[in-house]
């Protein structure tokens, strides 16, 4: 792992909160915004990672973990949210408390026009499918939003997403 990674500091904070909450399985579709978090989960003995072919698999995998009392998270870029609504029937209809970590594209300073359509649809998709939306726009919101999502999807039994905006992550040049 590269300690100079721009996301190293907050990823470590987020990872500790997630691990302390008993989240043991980190499913992911690779993204620059989650790669340090995933590297931490790969390295730690209490956690394992699982590479997906498409984001909706992560919804079902997290539901499977919940069936036996375990906790998992789906980490993905905002475009992947568009692959998930049908499987989020498990959240909205069956009360599986799916937890997600979403790194935004297409919101603040985005230069790739292909990212805007899905980026702009994330909030409404989450709301429509009954997933609570905990936004992070500034560094000082990270701990509270992560804890809120972890607690909502834990004892609260509600599907929840930590949504990291490009205002927080920074928009990449294109």
């Amino acid at each position: 792992m590269n300690p100079d990674h721009p996301n190293a500091e907050w990823s470590a904070v987020m990872f500790d909160i997630l691990r302390d909450a008993g989240i043991g399985l980190f499913t992911h579709v690779p993204d620059h915004g989650n790669d340090f978090l995933i590297a931490l989960a790969m390295e730690h003995n209490d956690t394992r990672t699982l590479l997906l072919t498409s984001e909706e698999e992560g919804v079902a995998i997290c539901a499977g973990a919940d069936l036996v009392g375990k906790r998992a998270i789906l980490c993905m870029q905002s475009s992947g949210v568009g692959n998930c609504p049908n499987y989020l029937s498990l959240a909205k209809g069956a009360n599986f408390p799916i937890l997600m970590m979403i790194t935004m594209r297409g919101d603040y300073g985005e230069q790739n026009p292909w990212q805007y359509p899905m980026g702009e649809a994330v909030d409404s998709i989450l709301e429509t499918m009954g997933v609570l939306n905990f936004k992070v726009e500034r560094r000082d919101e990270l701990e509270k939003a992560t804890l809120a999502a972890v607690d909502a999807s834990g004892k609260g039994q509600k599907p929840a997403a930590i949504v990291l905006s490009q205002k927080f992550l920074g928009a990449k040049g294109f």
């Binding site: 699982l50 072919t53 919804v59 539901a63 036996v68 049908n86 498990l90």
Partner: protein
């Protein structure tokens, strides 16, 4: 269109032959006929989570179960249409390599639930070779009843994850009225599992 080989296995009695002790397994079943047959197998037992939507989700849900309950045998029962809609999940299973996971795909080469429309496996598509290409370690296809003992041995002895395609006759599935309350089925499965597995980190 390439014609698929003829199948002579009746879906309504194959699962009890493959799973003579269903209480020893944790099951997830995909939508439509697969869930009817799986519910008949277990008497809609709390060791089975059946689906009637989220087409394609059975394999990844079974994978989450298998990785989270590594000491239990986990089986996914699905159909060919369900399998193809979530076909990428075979790749994810192959990468994760859960040794305790078995997938039984009942392939009737059609979409019976929606009116018997022809499916891809009626033509050139071969699910077993797709699974091999995905990297699933153990794969098998059976067409005839006299191959069932070999399939039983495959489920018992082949290293996991295992992918078994059963080419079935185009009959109706088992006539079994299962519980469609998806939230109640979740609670029943969790409660039964957690009461029977004294998990120290049961948080809910």
């Amino acid at each position: 269109m390439v014609k698929a080989p003829k199948a002579n296995i009746d879906r309504r009695d194959i699962l009890p032959q493959l799973f003579p002790k269903p209480e020893d397994w944790l099951f997830v079943s995909g939508l439509a006929g697969a869930s009817c047959d799986a519910a008949a197998l277990t008497g809609n037992g709390p060791n089975l989570y059946t689906m009637a939507g989220t087409m394609g989700a059975a394999v990844p849900m079974g994978l989450g179960l298998a990785l989270s309950a590594p000491d239990r045998d986990v089986a996914v029962i699905n159909g060919d249409g369900e399998m193809l809609m979530g076909i990428g999940s075979l790749v994810t299973v192959a990468t994760a390599q859960p040794q305790n996971m078995t997938i039984v795909c009942q392939d009737n080469s059609m979409h019976r639930e929606t009116g018997n429309q022809t499916g891809h496996t009626a033509g050139a598509t071969n699910l077993e070779t797709i699974a091999q290409g995905a990297g699933i370690i153990s794969t098998m296809t059976i067409f005839e009843p006299d191959e069932i003992p070999a399939a039983q041995a495959f489920l018992a002895d082949a290293p996991g994850p295992r992918f078994l395609v059963v080419r079935i006759l185009p009959t109706m599935p088992c006539d079994f009225k299962r519980n469609f309350n998806m939230a109640e089925c979740r609670v029943n499965f969790r409660r039964h599992f957690l009461e029977n597995n004294n998990s120290s980190d049961n948080r809910n």
